[in-house]
Structures are given as structure tokens and as C-alpha cells.
Amino acid sequence: MSKESIVQLEDIIAWKVQQIQNKVNEPMPLPMQQALEVNNDWRQELSFVEHFYTSQADEQRPSAQLSTRFYQMLNSAQVVQEQRVHNTKNNAGEVRFQPGIWQAISSWFMPAPVYQFAMLAVCFGLGWYLKPIDNNTVATNHESQQISALQNEVKSLTTMVAVSMLQNPSATERLNGIAYSASLIDQEPQIQQTLLKVLATDDSTSVKLAALKSLAEIQNIAPIADALIDVLNTERNPLVQINVLQMLLLSGNEDVYLKTTNQLTNTELSTEASKILEQLSQVNQI
């Protein structure tokens, strides 16, 4: 037949590969056999293909860490799903965590970097909204709206996680939460409020100092000035007092400066903080 003459090596290879993969015992079609018989180079090439496809392929094992990370991710995804259902049912504005929920989320952060959550949050949200994905899909207007809605959702989800981390009994996890929430400090009042609460009530000086460092990045300090002055009235640790003073007096905001100095007359500062206050006053006169 005329078809015999157009048998090509790639067809024979494709057949061979299929045979090997499917373990089919059918003999090779005659035209292919005939083509091979007259072509020594093809036979050699096919022999190589057979060797390559049938030689033993050793598989390397990944570390146990991979499984741990996967199950933590899965666990967290289940938590997020439960929380989503919970929130939808209750339609509650306040985020309330049931016991074990923050634990599940925070445990996920212990060995893995924080970015994983962001990754999950974004991906999880995408899976929720975007039905078909394709490499070359161009987002329609409708999809853009969906993505925008998703971004808001992810932001609130991220805030929710940050807040839960900041409430974790482990100081390490709270430090992680502060680092995690740093990028949201100027956008999310809820994060600011939680950090202020941490500053006022946390047991760990390290955590308070980290919270202060994060709060110091807020562009406009005026709305939280009162809360910071309150901290000066209750906080006894000189390191924390000094950092709060620096924030208030060196913010560049004249109103905050005046408000602080006026109120400080009634505040009993530590010797160390008083010293710094003296220095700061001198700086302000420069």
C-alpha cells in the first residue's frame, strides 16, 4: 500500500513508547516492521529508545518535611474552609475563633514561612471564584470584578490570620504575627488596634518592642497617640517606655508632641525614660 512508504521513524517510536507504557503485547504493524528492516539507522535508534524507556529509573525520596508541610497546608485549608462556612452562616462582622482554629493555623506557621499562607489564601480564593483556568485566559470585565472581590476577601482573610497570630499564647508566634502583619499596618485599622492591645497587655517585652517597631511605620500617628500615651501611664519597663516616647515625640506631628508633653507632667516615668525625654526635648529645640 502507499501508506507503507510514508511510515516515519517518529511513528514507530510513538508506537514503541505506547507499547512499553501500556505493556501491549501486540506485534508491531507490518509496515513499520518492513520500514525497520530496510533501515539500519532506524533500528539502532529504536533500540536506544527501548533501552532508555525500559532501563531502571531510580526514584529519589523527598524529605519527611515535605509530607509535614503538605498536611499542615491541608489542615489549614480545612480550617479556612470551616471558618468561611462559619462566617457565612453567622454573617458576623467580628472574627471569632473557636478553640483549635488558631492552633491549626499557627501550627502551620511553625516550620513554614509566612508567605505560604498568603499563597494559600490567594490560591484558595482563586479556586473559589475562578472556574476555568487556562494558560492563555484573558480576564474579562466580569472576571476583573471577581478578582477585585477576591482581593478584598484575601485581605480580610490575611487580617484575620494576622490577628489570630497576634493572639497566640506563644511569644514566638506573636512575633511572627507582627512580622506578618507589617505590610498591612497602614491599611488595616484592625491590625493597628490589635498591635496596640499587644503593646498594652503582652507579657513579653520582646513582643511589645516588636509591636512598637511595626506601629512606628504608620504614616499618621495622630489617631493612635492617645492609646500610646495610655501605655506610658501603665507600662513600667523602661525599654518600652523609651520606645513609646520616641514614637510620640519624634513623629514630626506638632499636635502629638504637645499633647504628649502636656500629659507627661502627670506620668511617673522611669529614670531611664526621663533621661531620654530630656534628650528628646533638646533635639526638638534644634
Partner: protein, 182 residues
Amino acid sequence: MTDETALMQQIQQGQLDKLAVLFERHHVSLYNYFLRSGNSPALSEDLVQETFTKILAYRQSYSANGTFKSWMYGIAKNTMADQYRGLAATSVHVDADDEPLAANHSLQENMEQKEKQSLFEAALQKLPVELKESLVLSRYQQLNYEEISTMVGCNVNTFKSRIRKALSLLQSHYQVLSGEGE
């Protein structure tokens, strides 16, 4: 394979724990896919993790038309491509010349099979990325031509030619490495 489709449908309906079954079944071969594609062990693990995270995220986009396996490798391939784009400045591709064969323990062992396999692996690393990718998916991940051609966006006949070209190039590298080709 149909049971994997059923598992995916259960995951789509909210039984996320079913993903564990798919993970246990595929994570080792997926890890080896990333390794063979030239990624370091640590990065390969990250890529496996990311692939499964995406599987979870994109679960609703899976349709029963194709096998789960081919869908998963499609995501894996894109994940790796994203990684290369992100790390454009630092090459992730391990060239066989940079990865000396002498360092490969299997070569030091006098087991012919292992030696041959090491040479295949070394020769594979010398192929251009596109050809290597197709060959790895076909040989090691055992996807069929139709599945891979859909994944890489070409028709089956073009893919047949590509595989042949890849194998031919692999053979010449293999011969040089084994000292056969003078």
C-alpha cells in the same frame, strides 16, 4: 484513573481531606519530575508543595475530561515556569557540565544498570529545556503523547517529531558521555 476523577469530584464538593490520597500517590514521582527538570532537592520540594496548593486552589477547574495525572502535571509544569520567571536572574537550570558525573555516587558503583541510568540522566540534562520537558513527561511520568501535546500546546504529529528529535539528541549526548561516540 477513574477513581482519581472521583476523588477530585469529592474534593470539589468540599471533602478536602481526599487530597491526601492523591498526594500520597503522586508526590514522590512529582518530586522526581522537578528534580529531573534540573531543580535542586529543596526547590523541588517547594514546587511539589506549591503544586498541591494550586491543585487545592484550582480544584473547581478540574473537569473529568482528562486524567487527574495529566491535569496535575499541567499545573506542575506551569508552577515550574512561574518559578523560572521569578528567578530569571539566578539560573535554576542545572547543566550537566556543572553537575559533574564523578559526583554521582551511582557511577562509582559497578552496576551496569545504574551506570546506564546515570548516563541517561546526565544526557537528559544536556537537552534544551523544551525537549527535556517533553521527554521527562513521556519517559518518567509516563504520560501519553496526546496528554503531553495538549499540555505543551501542539498537535500530536508535531509532538511525535519533537520526541524523536529529543531522543536523537539524547542518544548523541549519551554516546559522548559513555565514550561510544568518537
